[in-house]
């Protein structure tokens, strides 16, 4: 199962002290849906505020990216440049 790490302060409001999760899903969207079932409201928060790094590569819009069973997914705040 893909491993999700949500080490951002804004996620704590949903997940409390937990920062690592193993959830089912073969696309980012399904992983987010699984997280949302565990923590209602978390899904929308992720979609609006977070960028997603899949196995090291950062995606700002990742909804339909495939996720492997060994994938590592990091939730990080969206970044703006200048």
């Amino acid at each position: 199962m893909p491993r999700v790490v949500a080490a951002c302060s804004s996620c704590r409001a949903f997940t409390g002290d937990l920062t690592e999760f193993e959830v089912e899903g073969d696309t980012v969207r399904r992983v987010i849906a699984a997280l949302d079932r565990l923590y209602p409201g978390f899904g929308e928060h992720i979609e609006r505020r977070m960028a997603i790094a899949i196995d090291g590569e950062i995606h700002q819009d990742a909804l339909f990216e495939p996720v492997g069973s060994e994938s590592e997914i990091y939730l990080i705040p969206k970044i703006g440049g200048g």
Binding site: V5, A7, C8, S9, S10, R12, R48, R49, A53, D55, G56, E57, I58, H59, Q60, D61, A62, E65, E72, Y74, L75, I76, P77, K78, I79, G80, G81, G82
Partner: protein, 768 residues
Amino acid sequence: MSDVLERPESAIRVAAPLDDGHLKVVGTRPIRPDGAEKVTGKALYGADLAMPGMLVGKIKRSPHAHARIVSIDTRKARALAGVKAIVTAADFPDLASEEYEAGESASNLRDLSLNVMARHKALYDGHAVAAVAATSSDIADEALALIVVEYEALPHVIDVEAAMADGAPVLHAHLFTEGLAARPDKPSNIAKRNELTRGDLAAGFAGAEVIIEGRYTTAAVHQGYIEPHACVANFGADGQCQVWSSSQGQFMIRTYCAKVLDLEASDIRVTPAEIGGGFGGKTTVYLEPVALALSRQCGAPVKMVMTRDEVFRATGPTSGAVIEVKLGAMADGTIVAADVVLKYQAGAFPGSPVGAGSMTALACYDVPNFSIVGYDVVTNTPKVAAYRAPGAPISAFGVESAVDDLALKLGMDPIALREKNAVRDGTKASYGPTFRNIGYVETLQAIREHPHYSAPLGPNQGRGLAVGFWFNVGGESTAAVNIGEDGSAVVISGNPDIGGSRASMAMMAAEVLGLPVEKVRPIVADTASIGFSMLTGGSRTTFATGMAVTQAAQKIVEDLKRRAALLMDVSVDQVDYVNGVAVCLDASKGKADLTIAELAAKAAQTGGPIGAQVSLNAQGAGPGFGVHLCDVEVDPETGHVTVLRYTAAQDVGKAIHPAYVEGQIQGGVAQGVGWALNEEYVFDRTGHMENAGFLDYRVPVASDLPMIDAIMVEVANPRHPFGAKGVGEVPIVPPLAAVANAVRGAIGKRMTDLPLSPPKIRAAVDAG
């Protein structure tokens, strides 16, 4: 053309292009296609457009740093002959709080709207409270003076820690600190607290053999683009709006104007003017919604151009900040613990770049135990806007100063210390994901091997090293390529050119199409003429828009092969396209080659016009690393710091047009040097900016700087067709500490408060 570049084994390429013998255009230095009009003064920037019947728009601004707006009386102003329109917040919808992403990161639309035109409260000296449109500049000025605004002045706060303290004047009654364990019951100026942690900080420090601590402070600095904000807006009688604006993103302007004025985006057409510098400061709106609102009221086009004074007082600088760093290390230089606290000014509304500052603070280091805490704090100063790698230079200043002290304490070479703790492929970044295809170590190596590193120093001279990191982004871009009947090409995209990107777009298309670059004309189109593109910023254009351009050109090549096959009467798999010529692979068939010009001449017979458009959302932008080396000489009598020599190495992936990559590096260095030595917002006791002009807001001039040696290290990013990584922002990250570390070397004292202006240096030298 290869679409996946192999990562070179010996990865350093120092000031020479990647060894791809097959690249004909990418990596060369052609003259930019918009060059002639720029050197002859013909290019049109935001203030250069005139429309028939155009009025002059001007803004009335609060003289108070913090005040309730009790009333605004515009009657006398309206009665003045020549005044055609007056607007206040009453003419703008009262938006609910809503996060919306139209720039590069989410903006709160309500805050954006309130910043454009104050409602109920003025939150900084310079905050817009009303605007007029009149038949001449003089009449507009007179009208502004006739608008009577009654204020109830309130205590104000500017310093970030003063704003955080209990009892500080509170800017927003409904702002409660986000990110705390328990929701607070009192409003605060601390909008947000964020935290990044790893490992066990206490254990890490307990095991450390050496501890370094430092407290560092920086002042607010402005992006300092030479062109003030300018736009012309026309609200047509049929509700169709035209906006001509110098900005970093015409689609962003369209979206924000639509949201702020409650209009349909499809009713607004934004044409990008040439832009005289942005650096992030033009990734938002100030004038455009106001100009549209004025134009709507009077039915005439309205031009608005800011004065330099207004640019400083009312457009986003970046944060002034406090940075606290504590490092724990072993005697061999291994950093085992790091504790960083960042406090950034957000200006009048939440949204400082402290999040990015937190994420980049330790990005160059592989540290097992750390805590990075960031505070986003509102202050009675203009709302902060993005400034080139927003947030990163500030935290890098603190961390790199501390690491420099660590090297001194350990008696260790600064490059060796950084190598010891360097992130490499496979290292988990401090902000989470695992690094891949990065060139940090190679960039350190490039500096170590550079003659600058071992050049001798004289009296009162010092040398400083510092490193820096920036993510770079990808995002949505659209590009269209059309082939003319003579075989030439037009490349259309939606990204304003702020650093020479047009040239790079033309070069990438020329490479794929096998055309000489002079036959490829790049155009930056308006919002109605090209599909959506995220704005120019975040070091994204060459990466993401370049990707769209390349893919569109590749589609055209496939189409050309199909047409050639038709004309040659062979199957498509027997046709190849090389260097602008379609050839039949089977020589026995005796088919003559067909050039792109010949194919274009037959376009009508082979399916019609030849063109392709690609819209994409580019992912996989590679982060960039910079390593800078700076030599300074300090005059102990005057405290003046002269930058003697500067060498900047950067991991750029692939330099599409090396001269413009060098230019980005040199420009970022210059801004960083100004930030380190001279630039700062100076406020008087009433919260009014005292140095709102280029005389006293001292940016580097030509005599302040030496030649800047830019070394491009190419470690390819396999996600980009030519291996490019974004380059524009990294160069401003290391200079603050590079300069401060050099000063440390020159005077033997650690300076922790930027800018290092002469009085401060004198005081430090005098103190002995």
